[in-house]
Amino acid sequence: MELLIFYPIALMCVGLALAVVLNKNPINSAMCLIGMMLGLAGIFAFTQAHFLAILQIIIYAGAIMVLFMFVIMLLNLKEDADHWMAREKNKLLSGLTAVLLVGALYKIIDVITEAKFKAPTAVPDSFGTVARVGEALFTDFVLPFEIASVLLLAAMVGAVVLAKNKLD
């Protein structure tokens, strides 16, 4: 029953992720990426992490990708072969990336197949709820949380400084 939900979503995610890379049209790629993120949110919700699923939609599908679309439209990139084929000249870089990717995938698969899974334990009702995630974030993981916020603040200040220099 659960696999009946999991496999279609997983297939959709992989298919859309491939479409992002293979599409020639930037807007189509962006749309496929949004679909992929929604599918990912579905997988999160499926594994009881409802809060994470909603955050995935709000932050990635809702906020970041809108900005992507905004920039793509601002540049008004059409299906312009000259612009989008430029990457093909860099064969060395493409090859290196492929080697790295295969290496990483090999390691991941190796670890997963070696791992011995215990019988799944029942998750408590509070698992993945807002209260539980908040509790973990502000007790066990408060230092990474604060460091991440400082990082975001620095990025924000940096963006303002860059924009300000251009304006003055």
Partner: protein, 358 residues
């Protein structure tokens, strides 16, 4: 199991009937009538069946017929797939929001607890927010895929405006979360049984900002720059006709109902009557037996909820026909320089008050 499924199905059908079947067509008529009254005109009264006009109510039917029979036109050079996808992406989130909106409380009918919400999510409030942000794509790709510069300008304005006001909306929601300390919409509704704990008293500034931001999200006057007729023809839906145009139209009207429901739910006591608790209502109708009294109270609550929603719809209509359109830079200034700092102040003050009262 089967009974649960049927109950859920009934709730889904009820919501669809109320939003798509009742409010969306009626609101096209209300909008015309409201503008007519406010501008001292007679208003929609031409559509008639066998000489009967019934205050112009048949205009809704005429509209629907017109949309169904019009040619579905896709301009040259447009991206056909995205052009067709866009109105669907716009209208589906508008309807989907109602999945988590409770339109009544808990009732025991025939020995079974029935909760008047389709999906009682732990993250209900965030769900509305997340789904609303998906709707942006409908408008943005509509403008982009039309291969029309007016449409593109409309799409850019939509993207900029919706991102800007989503920030305010999100930060205002935090204030609401702080006073109710839950995201579950059914619990937020239940807490407001106490008249003094209505959202409007706990978060007055939050209410004003949330209302402003949600009208901006719905792109209605005074925030209708994405479709400003006098500047960019019709903005993102310039190249749409027939039922596809109708879907954008429907999305806007359903969103009016959504805004009304969320306002009622978060700030105006949801399905509760001031000073009348559910228990006292139940005791009044005690002579009907448990199921009977529960049914009567349920009907009263649903009625109260939708009455409040209708009041908010009326307020939105009045705003729409009262104010002129803001200039584009004014909208951005209002969003980033006034509402954003104010919503941060709201969070700070709410935090201080909660801390002081502890």
């Amino acid at each position: 199991m089967i009974v649960d499924l049927i109950v859920t199905l009934v709730k889904i059908l009820f919501i669809l009937a109320v939003t798509v079947g009742f409010f969306a067509p009626i609101l096209t008529w209300v909008e015309r009538k409201q503008s007519a009254i406010m501008q001292d005109r007679v208003g929609a009264n031409r559509a008639d069946i066998l000489g009967f006009t019934v205050l112009g109510l048949f205009h809704a039917i005429a509209d629907a017929l017109k949309m169904f029979t019009k040619e579905d036109f896709i301009p040259d050079g447009a991206n056909r797939a995205l052009h067709t996808l866009a109105p669907i992406v716009a209208v589906v989130p508008a309807i989907l929001t109602f999945a988590v909106v409770p339109f009544g409380g808990n009732y025991s009918l025939f020995g079974k607890e029935v909760n008047l919400v389709i999906a009682d999510l732990d993250v209900g409030l965030l769900f509305i927010f997340a789904i609303a942000s998906i709707a942006t794509y409908g408008y943005v790709i509509a403008g982009w895929s039309s291969n029309n510069n007016w449409s593109l300008i409309g799409a850019m304005r939509t993207a900029a405006q919706m991102i800007s006001y989503e920030v305010t909306m999100g930060l205002t929601i935090i204030g609401v979360l702080m006073v109710y300390s839950t995201m579950k919409l059914t619990v937020i509704g239940a807490i407001q049984e106490d008249f003094l704990r209505w959202g409007i008293f706990l978060q007055p500034l939050g209410f004003l900002m949330f209302f402003t931001a949600s009208i901006a999200e719905n792109k209605r006057i005074p925030f209708d720059n994405p479709e400003a007729e006098s500047e960019i023809v019709a903005g993102y839906f310039t190249e749409y006709s027939g039922l596809k145009f109708g879907m954008f139209f429907m999305a806007e009207f359903i969103e009016i109902v959504t805004i009304g429901s969320i306002m009622t739910l978060l700030f105006f006591g949801a399905w509760h009557i001031p000073f009348v608790s559910t228990a006292s209502l139940l005791s009044i109708f005690d002579f009907l037996g448990t199921t009977g009294s529960n049914i009567v109270v349920m009907l009263i609550h649903v009625g109260v909820f939708f009455t409040k929603v209708i009041i908010f719809i009326w307020i939105q209509m009045t705003i729409r026909w009262t104010l002129p359109r803001f200039r584009y830079d004014q909208i951005m200034k209002l969003g980033w320089k006034i509402l954003l700092p104010l919503s941060l102040v709201n969070i700070l003050v709410t935090g201080i008050v909660i801390l002081a009262l502890q």
